[in-house]
Symmetry: C2
DNA sequence: CTGTTAGCGCGTTCAC
DNA sequence: GTGAACGCGCTAACAG
């Protein structure tokens, strides 16, 4: 490994000068600078990022801690983050907490120990470790889910409104017994989407029946199981609102497996974009989120906070959009 | 930030002893160790990973450089990597090269500068930077695609065989003019899957028609465009083999949009698992890869190489499996 | 078993 | 505009 001293010697200057050339901060005599650059080229010098980070006690890395790498929602969001980060001179490393507070904790610790420049995180609910980041003074932006009692920048969507829209649509479509499969109680998104569902029912003068509500895990299997369980009800529901993409897919799988016709016997509407939703037969009615924008916005906020750490925390809410397709029209 | 010296002072020992306790390497008197641990607790000491890395000139991080974070194939693979890494005491950071050699280059540079402990990479074809890693002596495992002229550990699937299987199945199903949409020429997977397609045709005594072959980008749009182009042929193909998951979806979208009935007018078989392939109507025939295992194997190989850097490079090939569904049965 | 010493490679004072 | 010197926080030698 060639160090800054090797370059300095080879160019006949001091290490300080090489450092200046590398970082382009203070001005260096053009002739010298050229000599240094040439020496760097000949020796194939690569600055040691670790040493630099130690010295500056700062890295140029952002950690993005998401809760399910298998969910296209998060991966799409990451693209938005990446594009902004790139331009701002940061690299993005992705960490998958898998909805597990313990795993999340490990990544938070790593981010802290590795002196990451910033963190974008979708907290894994109650046991989340975001506060540790905040207390340590690390720039943080929370995405997708509201953290409890921590003042941080957040980027969310209008979950309640979106859920209300979807449920309202099912009501208008003429469904009578509309069920809801929402996510884990500990997650704000699950609670908000459930609330939107309830609000839509009440707005239509309907009764909210707790026996038609299920709390699942935001995954395919959970959606499947919840749907299966709902179908055992008597009378059974004639429509279902699923609170995220994977659970919607799970619910549909269950209905297909049981030979229940969509949308004639059971109507379906889901929250969240579903890749190739239009290829599934029937095509699926969804509440779409501006996923890429979500990531972009979070990244923008993070960049701002890094340059201006004392700025008061801000909350951005982006809007969802209902896409009516075949699964909810009978 | 509390340092190891703060802890040492507080516990009345030397920094070296604290270091020993933290790393549990050489043995320390239990009483002392306890005192140190207590001091660490009271001061909320977190070891500075950056300083440690500088000293050891090694991190505990693996970089996984994939070429499309939007492709479920790669994200599923990453789960396999993660599970192994976790157990071996490494953290995984994910980098998305987006099939762009320049972006890949940036991440490779970062991995080098940051002294990553190892790298798992799916090279972005011709302009790949894997050799830089190898030359620098960084443990590397190449996944999914064959690198050219570099001796590294690799984990692949039997692309040619799988493609042959799928194409052979289309032939047996009675299709006459079978087209192929494969990936970029520069990628070994694209070439191998194309070869499998050709081999199946020849094995059945059919002629390989170049006008029925398209090179696309391994993405949805590419598959769509290629299919659209193929449909303009006269006579048009009556079946298509698409060389990866996203392109299969794209091709199907195109067929649906143009009102071409699957599998009656055009049969479809695709390489690679497709999430909810069984929900799409008609359900899609696919050649499934052991995605998780692929990641797991790569991680295992990487761990081995790290502990035993001089071991000769090995190549592992995993097997694919044909899943016949409705899209190819007429 | 424990403490002392000496860097890892770099950026940043501070003189000149 | 440039160089010498110091130290970021830690761990690997070496003595003791």
């Amino acid at each position: 490994m060639t160090t800054i001293y090797d370059v300095a010697r080879h160019a006949g200057v001091s290490a300080a000068t090489v450092s200046r050339v590398v970082n382009g901060r203070s001005s260096v005599d053009p002739a010298l600078a050229e000599r240094v650059r040439q020496a760097m080229g000949e020796l194939k010098y690569r600055p040691n990022a670790v040493a630099r980070n130690l010295r500056r006690s700062q890295t140029t890395l952002w950690a993005v801690i998401i809760s399910d790498i298998g969910n296209p929602f998060f991966t799409a969001m990451v693209r938005g983050v990446e594009d902004v980060a790139q331009k701002a001179g940061f690299s993005v490393v992705l960490c998958n907490s898998d909805e597990d507070p313990a795993k999340e904790g490990k990544y938070v610790t790593a981010a802290l120990n590795d002196q990451m420049a910033g963190v974008i995180i979708s907290p894994s609910g109650r046991g989340t470790h975001v506060n540790r980041l905040v207390e340590a003074g690390v720039p943080v932006v929370v995405i997708d889910r509201l953290p409890r009692g921590v003042a941080v920048d957040t980027v969310m969507v209008d979950n309640e409104h979106g859920a209300q829209l979807a449920t309202g649509h099912l009501i208008e479509a003429g469904y009578e017994r509309i069920a809801c499969v929402t996510g884990p109680r500990r997650l704000s998104t699950a609670a908000q989407r459930l609330r939107g569902y309830q609000r839509a029912l009440r707005a239509a003068g309907r009764k909210v029946r707790t026996e038609l509500i299920r709390f699942a895990d935001f995954r395919e299997e959970g959606g499947y199981a919840a749907m299966a369980d709902l179908l055992r009800q008597d009378p059974r529901p004639d429509a279902v609102f699923a609170a995220n993409n994977l659970m919607t897919v799970g619910a549909v799988e269950c209905l297909v497996d049981q030979g229940v016709r969509i949308p004639q016997e059971v109507g379906v509407a889901g929250f969240d974009n579903i890749p190739w939703a239009h290829l599934v037969r029937p095509t699926l009615t969804t509440v779409d989120q501006p996923t890429y924008e979500l990531g972009r916005t979070a990244a923008l906020l993070l960049a701002e906070r890094i340059t201006e750490p004392t700025r008061p925390a801000s909350s951005v809410t982006l809007h969802t959009q209902l896409h009516v397709r075949e699964s909810s029209r009978r």
